[in-house]
């Protein structure tokens, strides 16, 4: 492997890890607080990507500046959070918090099936490609390798900002502390006057918006086609499970590990590239069943 290829693989891996982390952050946040694994998270990611393409395509057609693609990504993420995340929690998940885990999984799986068809109905099966945002930022040359600013600087910066922002938000703001209190003990939190329903709704909207943001940020770097949601939910679950469900900082590290593993495999053994994330997950989980950073929970008898 030449140094150039090495750097390329490294940059690919970092850019990819940043995207996966943003999606996985939403997944692990929702799980950490609500104890629900949202399988529909992958669809929210895909819909975020589709929405961005449609919005920025519309903006370009109106003759607006390409740089507007960036605020439009945020808009799509917020729309996904509010218009999809909100109703899903409010109408469905709220009814099943006291049901067995299997039923909760089935409900989010059903939502996933529905949303996959919604995408197909709204956007068709034709692949979309919309790289305005990618081109708007131009390229940068690092150690003789030319790479896009968008992937090499913007994506990792956004991921890092979200990681630090989430830490700060959960530990140093009132709403964040309310969320942590509800996570710790829902009944105790309710007994001191915290509205747990509101906390759950808010958490789910934020988590869904993160999935949408991941999709929005991914949209300039990849072609958008049906099935991308299914790949992403399995991949982000692999990241979250490798880290330990609910572990935010751990998810960042595992996203990096899995992203790099995958991008190096692309150059070394391309056929196996899609298998690498799962191989890493299986290897970690066979040694530490609760994930790298998860602590084994005390058993209730």
């Amino acid at each position: 492997m030449t140094p150039t290829l090495f750097l390329l693989a490294l940059f690919d891996g970092i850019a990819y890890a940043a995207l996966v982390f943003i999606v996985a952050l939403g997944l692990t946040l929702i799980f950490g607080v609500m104890r629900i694994l949202n399988i529909a998270h992958g669809s929210l990611y895909a819909i975020g990507a589709y929405a961005t393409v449609s919005l920025s395509g519309w903006a370009l057609a109106m003759g607006l500046a390409p740089i507007l693609a960036f605020p439009l990504m945020l808009v799509s993420a917020v729309l996904v959070g509010l218009l999809l995340g909100g109703p899903i929690e409010w109408l469905l998940l709220r009814r099943i918090y006291d049901k067995p885990e299997v039923l909760q999984l089935l409900v989010t799986f059903a939502v996933f099936m529905i949303l996959e068809d919604v995408q197909r109905l709204v956007w068709g099966t034709r692949p979309y490609f919309e790289a305005t945002a990618l081109q708007a930022l131009g390229n940068v040359t690092v150690l003789g390798v030319t790479y896009t600013v968008y992937q090499l600087i913007l994506l990792p910066a956004v991921a890092a900002a979200l990681l630090l922002g989430m830490r700060f938000f959960l530990r140093h703001t009132i709403i964040g502390k309310l969320i942590l209190a509800t996570t710790e003990d829902r009944e105790a939190a309710q007994s001191i006057g915290i509205d747990a329903d509101k906390v759950f709704l808010f958490t789910f909207i934020v988590g869904a918006a993160l999935a949408g943001l991941g999709g929005a940020l991914a949209s300039p770097t990849t072609s958008i086609l049906p099935g991308m949601g299914a790949d992403m939910i399995v991949l982000s679950f692999a990241v979250v499970a490798t880290a330990g469900l609910g572990q935010i900082e751990g998810a960042a590290l595992c996203a990096l590990m899995i992203g790099l593993g995958r991008s190096f495999a692309v150059y070394v053994w391309p056929e196996a590239a899609t298998l690498v994330p799962y191989a890493i997950m299986v290897a970690v989980l066979s040694v530490r069943p609760q994930g790298l950073f998860g602590s084994s929970s005390a058993r209730k008898i």
């Binding site: 694994l37 399988i39 469905l92 009814r95 099943i96 918090y97 006291d98 067995p100 885990e101 299997v102 039923l103 999984l105 089935l106 409900v107 799986f109 059903a110 939502v111 996933f112 099936m113 529905i114 996959e116 068809d117 919604v118 197909r120 109905l121 829902r186 009944e187 299914a230 790949d231 399995v234 679950f237 692999a238 499970a241 469900l245 056929e271 196996a272 899609t274 298998l275 799962y278 997950m281 299986v282 989980l285 066979s286 069943p289 058993r299 008898i301």
Partner: protein, 333 residues
Amino acid sequence: MTHATEPDKSRQGRPAGGPSMAGTVLPLAGLALLALVPLGAPGMQLLVNLALAKGLAVAGVSVLLRAGQVSFGHALYFAVAAYAGAFLMTALPGADLALVLLAGLLGAVVAGVCVGLFVVRYRGIFFGMLNLAFSMIFWSFLEKFYHITGGADGIRLPRPAVLGMDLDRASFELVLFYLTLTLVLGLGWATIRWLASPAGQIFQTLKTNETRLEYLGVSPRRALLWGYLVSAALCGIGGALMGVTQGVVTPEYAWWIRSGEMVFIAVLGGAGSVRGAFVGALIYELVRTYASAYAGDVWQMLLGGFLLVIILFAPRGVIGMIETLAHRGEARK
């Protein structure tokens, strides 16, 4: 307090002895009716055959639901078995049908041991998602390793011989139909017996109280592994039958939509009911055949919506409704 799981009342207090209306008579009558399909409605024969093959796989998923576990990746065993059959037919042209099914079963069980040893350490979310991950791994193997698996086009599975005879298409399909029906009867009965046996009862205790199992000195992982193998074997036979019936196997066999479909049918028929798996599969295939012409674009959406309705409003599925009706009928006598 809010998170306490209710004991599953529907599974308790089933009469132990004596044929019950819903338990024995109705399924046998249904099977007898199905046996008449090639004579009375030859147009439906292939459809019923495919539905029953799928029903065997769904029964595998149902077995796991009995232990309170859901697998979103059981299409893996379906596909492994179908590909094992196809590889066998490529290596030994003109091999016997029984051999193809055995190869499928063997493939599924071996895969079940490998994956099972890993996934039985987990419950709930991890169990479901790890199964999904393994099926996705196998799917991308089938897609990417073109020179071995034929890629997205899959492999042709030529018609096997039956007891050394090369049959023409019509009589082969007839043999296959009655073989499938026999397997449904035999394996369905065996699975129900296994669930009622001490080993099966221990397996189902995983759902209600796993800790108590450990107090009894029973290894929950081993109990789950046995159940997992039973379910993998059922899926495998279903997959091998499906492959032989369709004559071609493709990576789509392992695709997550297949797994999701199996879970859907299992819940539709009645979560955890073996008989329900077959009833569900028949209803599902019939509706799909006639409805997909009108609703092909929104098919998954309909499934998802229906799944939500069943989970929220009729958690015991179709078989639960039938049982309720049958009990009402018996009470009236």
